[in-house]
Symmetry: C2
Subunit: 386 residues, 2 copies
C-alpha cells in the first residue's frame, strides 16, 4: 500500500496552521507570480494588489483588484501583512508609503523615488562615485541644443519618468533628429544622455538583508532588441574577478546608500573595460530569472528571505545558465521539453505583440554545453517581435 | 525606470489564455500540492478532489470537496480535464475508472488494483521474476500457524488492504506473538510476510511516457522509523552500476506489465547483494522529493510530462542530495535557512503527532559536503516522533 505520504484520509484538519508569514505585494504580474512560486513551498502566504482582475499572480493567492495608488485598496492589501513589497518600480511611492501604516515596506520606498526619475537616478550614481554616461536635464526646447553640445552625439532623449521597455525614448544621432525628438517627447521633464559605444550590456543582482549582510550573484550578460531583454547569460562570458568586484562595489554602494532590504538589480554597460551604471530596478529582475534553476538560491527566494528578516541564501551558481525571453508568443511546450536541461516558464498571459509571456532557462555543466542548449532553445523560441 | 518586466500597467487582459492543459487530480495532499508547484510554471492548470476543504493543494488551484469515490464529485473534478491522475494509491479504483468517462486516467487504474492488495502486489512481483520475501495469504485464524511455519520467523502479519505508514501491521517474532497479532488484525484478509534481515532499504523511481520511453532516477537509500520515512539519500551510498541496473530492471518490468504512464516508485530491500521488492506506489513518492532540487527534472514535472504525452525530462542528478522529513512539527525556518544548500518545503498542514508536515532537501557538490549539510539539517529538524 506504499508509504501513503499522499494520504488524504477523510479527516478534517481542525485548524489551518497559524503563524505563516503573509507577504503583501504591490503588483501581481509575472514577477509577483514567481515570488509566490518561490515562497509557497516555504510556507509563506501572499496577497497581491493589481489593476487587472486576471493578473498572473491572482491564480496563486488572493488578489485585490485596484489601482496601485488607491489607498483603500492598499489598506485591504496590507492589513495583517508581515511585510509589504513591490514587484514594479512604477508603483506610486505614496502608495507604497501608505502601506507602511500596516507593516514594514521593503525595500524602503526611497528606492522608488530614485528609480522613478532618471535624473535623480543618474545623480545618485554620480554622487556615489559610480560611472555613468554623460547626461543633462532638459525641460524646455531651448535647452536641447545646448544639451546636445554638452553630451555629444549620438545621444538619446528620454522622459525622466514613466518610460520602460524602450518607450519614452528618442534617439538623436545627428542635429536633424533634434526637432523630431522634441516633438515626440517635449512637454514633460526630460533627460538627454550620451550614447556610449559600449562593448556589452551587463547587470548585477544583489540582495541585502535586515542586518546589512549583502550577497551578489555573478554578473550577467544581457542582449536587448527593440528595448526588450531577449537573452541573459550567467555568469557573463569572460567575467573576470575584477569586473565582478567592480559590479559588486556598485551594487553595494547603492544598497547601503538606500538602506535597502531585498533584491536590487543594476543595469550596466561595459565600456573600455570599466562599468557604467545605466539604471537600477528596486525589485527582482528579468535578468535574474536564471537563478531559479541556475543558482543555489533564486533571486525570488532571496528577496523573500531578506524582506522577512531571514538569513540570506547562497548566491553561488549551479552550473552555467542562459535565459531566453518569450516575447509576443509562447513556444511549443513539447519542443522546449525536448531540449535537455531546458526549463519552461509560462506566465499564462494573453499573447500580445511585444509582451513578455514567459521565459526558458537552460542549465548545463559547462559553458559549451550551455551554449549548445541555448542554441537549441533559440531555435524553438520565436525571437521575432510580434 | 528599469526594464519594467513586472509592468502591471492598468490595462485589462482581454481574455485568459486558452489551450492550457488541465490536470485533474484525485487527492489534494502535499503530493498534489507539489505536482501543482511543478506544473504551474509550465502553464498547466489543476483541479483537485479531496475530502478535506483545507487540503494543501486547494490553496493553489480549484478544489472539489468530496469523497474520492463519490461519482458526482468525480464528474465535477474530471469534466473538461486533459488528463486525470491520482496522488494516493488508496483512491478507490472504481472512482478512478469513473473519471475515465471524461478524460484519460493515467496511470491506468490497474496499478491501483495491484497496489491496494498486498497479496496481488506480491504475486505480481513473483510472476514478473522480481525477488520478494516469502509470503502466504491468511484469511482465518486456523491458517496462521501453518503460515508461520511456511515463511518462518520473524514474520509480520499485515492487512491485505488499507494499511500505510506502519498501520495495519503486527510483528510475529516468536510463537507467543501469534494470538496478539490475530487479535489486532484478524477478521479481514491478511498476508503473512517473512521479515528479511536486509542490509538496507532502497527505492527506485521510474517514469514511463505514452510511447513507452522509460527513465529511472538513481536508486535512493531510505531510513524509516516507526514505519515512517525519515531520511532519503540520493544517489544511495555505494550504488554500483549492477545494483542500479537491477533496480531499473525491476521498475521497467512493472511499468511495461502495467502499461504504466507516469511516475512509479518501488520500495526495495537490499539483501545479500540482491534486491527484493517490498511494495510499489503508483504515484510520485516521498523518497523522490529530493529530485526537486537534486535532479535535472523533478519527479513531479516528469509525472506531468508523462501523463500529458510530453517528452520526458532528464533524470540525471544535480550534485548529491538528501531529504529529511519533518514529522509532527516543523523546524524553525530561519534555522533551516542558515544551512547552505538546504531547501525547506512546508506543506502548510496543521501539526499532529506522526504527521508529515514538510521536508528539507540538502544538495552539495560532493557526498562529504552533502553529509555535512544533512547533519546540520538533522540538528535543526526534530526527528523525534510527536
Amino acid at each position: 500500500m506504499g508509504l501513503g505520504d499522499g494520504a488524504v484520509a477523510p479527516v478534517m484538519i481542525a485548524t489551518a496552521p497559524v503563524n505563516s508569514p503573509l507577504v503583501s505585494v504591490l503588483g501581481g504580474g509575472q514577477l509577483g507570480r514567481m515570488l509566490a512560486l518561490a515562497g509557497l513551498p516555504l510556507g509563506i502566504e501572499f496577497r497581491f494588489l493589481d489593476p487587472s482582475p486576471v493578473a498572473g499572480a491572482g491564480t496563486l493567492a488572493p488578489l485585490v483588484v485596484g489601482d496601485l495608488g488607491d489607498v483603500d485598496r492598499i489598506d485591504e492589501l496590507a492589513q495583517g501583512a508581515t511585510v509589504v513589497t513591490y514587484e514594479w518600480e512604477g508603483v506610486p511611492a505614496d502608495g507604497a508609503r501608505a502601506a507602511a501604516r500596516h507593516a514594514p515596506v521593503r525595500p524602503d520606498p526611497r528606492a522608488l523615488d530614485v528609480a522613478q526619475d532618471r535624473l535623480v537616478e543618474k545623480e545618485t550614481f554620480q554622487r556615489l562615485g559610480i560611472g555613468v554616461a554623460p547626461f543633462v536635464a532638459v525641460d524646455e526646447r531651448a535647452e536641447l541644443e545646448r544639451a546636445v553640445d554638452a553630451v555629444g552625439m549620438p545621444a538619446i532623449l528620454k522622459t525622466r519618468r514613466g518610460g520602460y521597455d524602450g518607450k519614452g525614448q528618442h534617439a538623436i544621432d545627428t542635429a536633424t533628429d533634434i526637432d523630431a525628438a522634441w516633438e515626440a517627447l517635449g512637454g514633460v521633464p526630460l533627460i538627454l544622455e550620451g550614447r556610449i559605444p559600449f562593448t556589452r550590456e551587463l547587470s548585477v543582482l544583489a540582495v541585502r538583508c535586515l542586518d546589512g549582510d549583502t550577497r551578489c550573484y555573478p554578473l550577467v550578460q544581457n542582449e536587448h532588441a527593440d528595448g526588450i531583454l531577449r537573452v541573459s547569460t550567467a555568469p557573463a562570458p569572460d567575467l573576470t574577478p575584477e569586473l565582478q568586484a567592480e559590479g559588486e562595489a556598485i551594487a553595494t554602494r547603492l544598497l547601503d546608500e538606500l538602506e535597502y532590504v531585498g533584491v536590487l538589480a543594476v543595469e550596466l554597460f561595459e565600456h573600455e573595460g570599466r562599468l557604467l551604471a545605466n539604471e537600477l530596478a528596486p525589485r527582482v529582475h528579468n535578468s535574474g530569472h536564471w537563478t531559479i534553476e541556475g543558482a543555489e538560491t533564486s533571486q525570488f527566494e532571496n528577496h523573500l528571505r531578506a524582506i522577512l528578516g531571514m538569513p540570506l541564501g547562497s548566491t553561488e551558481t549551479r552550473g552555467y545558465s542562459a535565459m531566453v525571453n518569450c516575447i509576443g508568443t509562447m513556444p511549443d511546450a513539447d519542443a522546449v521539453a525536448s531540449v535537455e536541461g531546458a526549463y519552461l516558464h509560462d506566465y499564462l498571459k494573453a499573447p500580445r505583440s511585444g509582451r513578455k509571456l514567459g521565459h526558458v532557462t537552460v542549465v548545463a555543466d559547462t559553458p559549451d554545453a550551455r551554449d549548445e542548449r541555448l542554441h537549441a532553445v533559440k531555435e524553438v523560441v520565436d525571437l521575432h517581435l510580434r
